[in-house]
């Protein structure tokens, strides 16, 4: 068994992201030690801990799905046990790290009172839930990495918004017991599902059609797809592409845009999001944080457009660029048109998310208008789309998107600093900075697109 464990560990250590994660973890611990030298409040700790949990969850899920979905996983003798043992060991290391850090955070005299009555097991149970969520994204959603960052940011914001309520919930014995039981069941189901992954299941979208229940599920999914397509009239639009593509810029950009596709059109998504945000807003009101949802314009808008663009681009895949670049246009024309299409896609996503946020900020509850909210956060967030677009297009050629996340995180941190700039009377500084940064990254990216190999 030790020989097999060693071989499995090597599948991790041979990956560059593993060492990146180790380095990031070290930086994280260092930053934490610095911030928590005199102790750290429990809610800050929870928010702080959610980031490594999300990232490690999604990376581990992704790694295991690669290992378990190959046909070899079903044919190599005693394959599952060493792989699951190593994965469990890594999860254990993350848990131990978070427990040690929690112990360190609660030791400061200034925060000792706040930590009293906070259940460590409760924190662990909720951390486990978040880990499972991100793990399942990584395991079953091919473009999980694009979803992990918004999830962690949203979780972080949610915790911050109602910290006292959440911490009391996390410390309630029956709730913790229930969460632990649910986590155990979910872990068992996830591991079982993953062990049954193979090429065939991937090909048939994880459904074994020989099972009648799966056939029904597939039929339902087909009906649902038909319903949404009918609603969106996407099919009609795809059929309406002029062949050959028109010589004008608009037709050519539209050609690339249609290649991205959208599950739901903005006109359909906006009302759904308005209702969702109202429900969340109502929930926040109940915990005394009524204005939290509109405050999230910068984060939700940017992460939404960023993940939307990354998902589309990664879905298109590197191979498809070989086809795209063979279209009967010059390379710079293709790059320019593809870029415009992607930028429009990002902006569409941004408007789809921020319009409902504005509506909720203005009509915090249906039929109860407030004074018009300030447009500055929206301006900042819109300006941030330009460097984000540059970053997305820069990292298309890289197999790993860690760089994109780091850059995205920097932009989002800058957005969070916007209120302070407003207080200093410099509201225009941030949009101008974004504009300059955006132009530089786009120019750099454009040059790379023109020169990169399409192997």
């Amino acid at each position: 068994m030790s020989k097999q464990l060693g071989a499995v560990i090597q599948t991790y250590t041979a990956r560059s992201w593993f060492w990146t994660m180790c380095a990031v973890s070290l930086v994280w611990v260092g930053v934490f030690m610095l911030l928590a030298s005199t102790g750290m409040l429990p809610d800050t700790y929870a928010a702080f801990a959610s980031i490594p949990l999300c990232i490690s969850g999604v990376c581990l899920g992704n790694h295991l799905s690669i290992q378990f979905r190959s046909a070899q996983s079903k044919l190599i003798p005693k394959f599952a046990a060493p792989h699951l043992t190593v994965a469990a060991g890594l999860c254990g290391m993350v848990a131990v790290l978070l427990v040690v850090v929690a112990t360190f955070a609660s030791h400061g005299t200034a925060v000792a009172a706040q930590w009293e009555g906070i259940s460590r097991i409760g924190l662990l149970a909720f951390g486990w839930s978040l880990f499972l969520l991100c793990f399942s994204f990584g395991c079953f959603h091919p473009w999980a990495i694009a979803l992990a960052f918004p999830s962690s940011v949203f979780f972080l914001s949610f915790i911050k918004a109602g910290s006292s309520i959440w911490l009391s919930v996390m410390s309630s014995g029956p709730v913790v017991a229930l969460v632990l039981i649910l986590n155990s069941i979910l872990t068992f189901v996830l591991v079982r599902r993953m062990c049954r992954l193979n090429d065939v299941m991937i090909e048939s979208h994880f459904h074994d059609l020989s099972e009648p229940s799966q056939s029904k599920r597939r039929a339902w999914s087909r009906e649902r797809g038909r319903f949404f397509r009918g609603w969106n009239q996407t099919d009609k639009e795809l059929d309406s592409i002029r062949r050959p593509i028109g010589g004008d810029l608009r037709s050519q950009v539209r050609h690339f845009q249609l290649g991205f596709g959208l599950l739901l059109k903005p006109i359909t998504l906006v009302p759904i999001l308005v209702v969702t945000f109202w429900v969340l807003h109502f929930a926040f009101l109940q915990i005394g944080r009524g204005s939290s949802i509109p405050d999230l314009v910068a984060i939700i808008g940017s992460t939404g457009s960023l993940s939307g663009a990354l998902t589309r681009v990664r879905t298109n895949g590197r191979m498809s660029f070989q086809w795209i670049m063979m279209l009967p246009l010059r390379r710079e024309e293709i790059v320019f048109r593809y870029g415009i299409a992607l930028l429009i896609h990002m902006l569409k996503m941004w408007f789809t998310i921020t319009i409902p946020l504005y509506i909720v900020a203005w009509l915090s509850l249906a039929g109860m208008p407030h004074p018009s909210p300030s447009l500055w956060p929206y301006m900042d967030s819109l300006a941030a789309q330009i460097p984000l677009f540059g970053v997305v297009t820069l990292f298309i050629w890289r197999p790993q998107v860690v760089g994109a996340y780091l850059a995205g995180a920097v932009v989002m941190l800058a957005l969070m600093g916007a209120p302070h700039l407003n207080e200093l009377g410099l509201p225009l500084l941030l949009p101008v900075m974004f504009l300059v940064l955006g132009v530089c990254t786009i120019a750099w990216s454009y040059r790379r697109w023109l020169q990169t190999d399409l192997s």
Partner: protein
């Protein structure tokens, strides 16, 4: 020890409304080299996946070494080598790491053999798997499948991307495996010339149905091309029993027939007052004729 290594009884498999395999009955005996032949989409890969327990048949049973293919034990798996059509290895690992990773799971791993093959096929141990060309990847997958000297080797289009030299080495390796009477090889390929060199048995699959299953010699012995020449005029239609394909040109006709023997030839000559010229067919000709109907 049973002589049947792999057995499929009444195996059917459908994807949505498409029936890919239709009640397949197949039995592969120990020590045979079986060539699985069929057009694209005939169901070759699905048949192999069902046989290996990678796919669950809608009906019927598949067994390997007497065990249910869907629930193979670790011991049975250690006796199987498989190269899938779509090779998915870990892109980020190096060739030597990939081999070491596989070796760790097999008690009977032959380091000398793998080292020999790596050298013969000119793979660089320090190359990353993700950087390998299609052909190099196929070579590596073959090494991984051969490394534990399996009793049953299943290869789905193994030589498609290999260069002629590597194909020759690969076929030599298959022949070497096949020379050990306790080893069995099932080989799916479009390259009929490869099959002619190594296969002892042929399974011909057409639209999910087995058209022929038997020895290569019997197939070649029974399927012939017959040229009939007469002084008069031959009928336009010659749908005779056993005729796979025919072409009639006034006073001569070209028939591809199965089950050809001296009696049938004499009867043909008598019925059409013609002279018959019999020609042997190679596997590729037989394949083309079978699929022409």
């Amino acid at each position: 020890m049973s002589d049947v290594v792999l057995e499929m009884i009444g195996v059917s498999k459908s994807f949505e409304k498409t029936e890919v395999l239709k009640s397949i009955d197949l039995s592969v005996a120990r020590g045979r080299v079986v060539g699985l032949l069929g057009k694209n989409g005939a169901g070759k890969s699905t048949l192999l996946k069902c046989a290996l327990g990678l796919m669950k048949p809608n009906s019927g049973t598949a067994t390997i070494f007497g065990e249910d293919a869907w629930n193979l034990s670790g011991g049975a798996k250690a006796r199987i080598g498989y190269v899938p059509q779509k090779i998915s290895l870990y892109d980020w690992m190096r060739v030597r790491q990939m081999i070491a990773y596989y070796a760790a799971f097999y008690p009977s791993w032959n380091d000398t053999l793998t080292a020999e093959l790596v050298e013969k096929w000119e793979l660089q141990s320090e190359d990353r798997v993700g950087k390998l060309s299609e052909g190099q990847l196929q070579k590596l997958a073959l090494i991984l499948a051969l490394g534990h000297e399996p009793e049953l080797l299943i290869l789905d289009e193994p030589a498609a991307s290999l260069d002629p030299q590597a194909r020759r080495t690969f076929l030599a390796a298959v022949v070497e495996i096949a020379s050990d009477q306790s080893r069995t090889v099932i080989l799916s390929t479009h390259l009929t010339s490869d099959l002619e060199r190594v296969a002892s048995d042929i399974v011909m699959l057409k639209s999910g149905v087995i058209q022929y299953s038997g020895s290569m010699d019997d197939l070649k012995e029974s399927v012939k091309s017959i040229r009939l020449t007469t002084q008069g005029r031959l009928p336009g239609r010659m749908d005779l029993p056993g005729v796979l394909a025919y072409e009639v040109h006034a006073n001569h006709a070209l028939l591809t027939m199965s089950g050809v023997n001296e009696d049938r030839i004499h009867r043909l000559e008598h019925d059409y007052s013609a002279t018959a010229e019999v020609r042997d067919l190679n596997l590729e000709d037989i394949f083309v004729e079978v699929h022409r109907v």
